[in-house]
């Protein structure tokens, strides 16, 4: 770019250089052409900046006002951590946080166990049944969560099951299996079948071969999906809202209930803490494969 832009090189008037004829020829072309293919696409740049502003401005406000010394949600006075200490003395919110952590942990373990088994099964199931199951497996990913939530609620009501922490856990597990399977399936398909055969050749039973060879090979992807599920379930509101009972409610549901009676800045503090936790987890999910010396953490999320 710099060699074709004469304005960028004012200090070389007497030195036409070897590319001078070319430069003169290019200068006659329209301006757009002169900037060349390597020029920065300004429109795309503006759109990108706008996108990030719209995306992060509200979140930034929450973080900012969580450190406000005043109760106001519009005027920032001084820096203070009073809303954080208020949160840590609020037993209802704390018990909700504990409940959310518990639900996320159980949902993570349950959906990873089932999701890994499903991924192994789908890849190895030959024939039509396997490919149909593979398609059906994707349905929860595209179903609007509100539909899943209402459907779960109706199912529990129909069965006469009292809504409780248990029902939230079951629903969250069901909903999360697809994510695990989508992440794991391509990894399982990429495994060399001869490796498992080699383990059996060396005296391992089929189960030992899976445990000693296949699962360790999948470990980075399993850990990454586990962290992702934990973050997704922890943040989940819709499904939790429809399936939770009267026990300490999950944090997201608790916050929603609280803001109906007016917004306390404590919520900003909770939001900021949740954000920090989620970012930490997502960062962990992305970096786990790198810890194992493999490239590509981002592709885990895109499912490749």
């Amino acid at each position: 770019m710099t060699t074709v832009d004469p304005q960028r090189r004012p200090g070389l008037p007497g030195l036409p250089g070897p590319d001078a004829p070319r430069r003169r020829r290019l200068a006659r072309l329209p301006r757009l052409r002169r900037r060349g293919v390597e020029a920065r696409p300004r429109f795309a740049f503006v759109v990108t900046v706008l996108f990030f502003v719209l995306l992060y401005l509200p979140i930034g406000m929450v973080v900012l006002f969580s450190f406000n010394s005043q109760k106001s949600l519009t005027v920032f006075k001084h820096f203070s951590t009073r809303w954080y200490s208020a949160f840590f003395h609020d037993h209802v919110l704390l018990s909700s946080l504990g409940m959310s952590l518990k639900i996320s942990l159980v949902a993570m373990i349950g959906s990873v166990l089932l999701g890994v088994a499903l991924a192994l099964g789908l890849v190895r199931a030959r024939g039509r049944l396997g490919s149909y199951s593979g398609l059906i497996m994707l349905v929860p990913l595209i179903t609007p969560e509100i539909v899943t939530g209402v459907a779960s609620l109706m199912l529990y009501k129909g069965l006469g099951v009292t809504l409780s922490t248990g029902t939230v856990m079951i629903s969250e597990i069901t909903f999360s299996i697809s994510y695990v399977t989508v992440i794991l399936r391509s990894r399982v398909a990429a495994l060399n079948p001869e490796v498992e055969e080699a383990a059996m050749d060396l005296g391992a039973t089929r189960w030992q071969a899976v445990r000693l060879v296949t699962l360790p090979a999948l470990l980075p992807a399993i850990l990454a999906s586990a962290v992702l599920i934990f973050a997704l379930v922890f943040d989940d509101f819709v499904l939790a809202y429809f399936t939770t009972g009267v026990d300490p409610q999950p944090l997201a549901v608790r916050i929603y209930s609280a803001i109906r009676f007016g917004v306390e800045p404590t919520i900003n503090a909770v939001g900021t803490l949740m954000l920090a936790g989620s970012i930490t987890l997502i960062a962990a999910a992305l970096s786990i494969p790198r810890l194992f010396g493999r490239s590509g953490g981002l592709d885990l999320l895109s499912g490749d």
């Binding site: 001869e194 391992a204 010396g293």
Partner: protein
């Protein structure tokens, strides 16, 4: 592994005559397709270096997988040292496999890869450590014990795969084109090494390859397979010098294969010369036959008296370092290749050039008449 007794042949003591591997009328079909392996019977002697050679899709890998226990034969029985293992899973068979892809365990170190089989067999830790060290010594990788397989080169990984299989002291080692992924020079080196290791450990090797040079240089015996059947089984010299079928003659090296009609010691090539092949008592006069002469068995000079001869025109010369191949047209449509060594004695100006008329000669014992 070794103590597993077979339900069908409980008392079959392994004598020196008991074949290490016996395949008895093995057939394998996949779905509705033609049989991948059709009614195949083979005996492989203990300590033998045995090769299954053939083009891709001939059933050699399927045969190996059935011996290893990774594929169930549709019909027939497999005996290892006299014991029926047809229905046993791989972990219950006293055989180990070196896979084409090496199939190393990437999350384990080289030493742990090699120790895998011993750990499964419950060998005491101290003995495991010693045997792993010995084996890494044998494959010349003692310095790499703590490395991960990913950090090794292709040749080194190949050795780890070999050590991992051999350390279990199997009765039979199965090798599925283990050298296919290596470059030519390394492959030549590994061929020699593999043969040395086999002599050293004395284990029966069953070696699958599509490379005839590899099969010829390494094997005690070779089974040439085509379309699920063994076409010819014998020593490398047998299958090369005296192929039993047209397929073997054309698959093993290059061959001048000409078809014609046999009549009292000569084959009349259609539209070409009569090739004197010597008397073949088992072939009736007037029979349609193929005659095969190896390019290196065709003489272009220094003829001995009473050799059969023919005249032809040099169509092309192919120089390839130590040898030169001449394509000689005996008659329109009848071309033979003749191979000459570029030895110190034959000088540049002695070579023939295209268009030159030459006389070729051969010995009748080098002519193979195949029905």
């Amino acid at each position: 592994m070794t103590t597993t007794s077979s339900p069908t042949s409980p008392a079959a003591p392994a004598t020196p005559d008991t074949p290490a591997v016996r395949l008895d009328r093995i057939t394998k079909t996949f779905g509705q397709d033609a049989a991948a392996v059709a009614d195949l019977s083979l005996d492989i002697a203990p300590g033998e270096f045995f090769s299954l050679l053939g083009p891709s899709g001939c059933g050699k890998t399927t045969t190996l997988r059935m011996i290893g226990g990774f594929a169930d034969p549709t019909a027939g029985t497999i005996l290892l040292s006299g014991q029926d293992v047809t229905r046993l899973p791989p972990n219950k068979r006293n055989v180990n496999t070196v896979f084409q892809s090496y199939a190393l365990f990437d999350h384990l170190s080289v030493a742990d890869n090699v120790a895998f089989g011993l750990k499964r067999a419950g060998v005491p830790r101290e003995q495991t450590r010693r045997r792993v060290a010995e084996m890494l010594e044998l494959v010349q990788l003692p310095a790499f014990a703590n490395r991960k397989p990913r950090t090794l080169s292709g040749g080194q990984r190949q050795r780890v795969a070999l050590a991992r299989a051999l350390v279990n002291r199997p009765a039979v080692l199965l090798l599925d084109e283990p050298l296919a992924a290596l470059d030519l020079k390394l492959r030549r080196q590994m061929q020699i090494e593999l043969k040395q290791i086999q002599r050293e450990v004395g284990i029966t090797f069953v070696f699958v390859t599509h490379d005839q040079d590899e099969a010829l240089t390494m094997s005690d015996r070779v089974a040439v397979m085509n379309a699920g059947r063994v076409e010819h089984c014998g020593t490398p010299e047998d299958v090369y010098e005296r192929p039993e079928t047209k397929f073997v003659a054309s698959f093993m090296g290059t061959s001048n294969l000409m078809t014609g009609v046999y009549r009292s010691g000569a084959v009349q090539i259609g539209g070409g010369p009569a090739i004197t092949v010597g008397a073949c008592p088992q072939i009736a006069d007037g029979a349609e036959v193929s005659v095969s002469i190896r390019p290196e068995k065709i003489w272009l000079s220094d003829f001995e008296p009473d050799m059969p001869r023919a005249r032809g025109v040099i169509k092309d010369t192919v120089y390839s370092g130590p040898t030169t191949t001449y394509l000689i047209e005996l008659a329109p449509g009848v071309t033979v290749a003749a191979l000459e060594q570029n030895t110190a004695r034959s000088r540049n100006e002695d070579r023939w050039v295209g268009g030159e008329s030459v006389e070729i000669a051969w010995k009748t014992e080098h002519c193979l008449v195949l029905v």
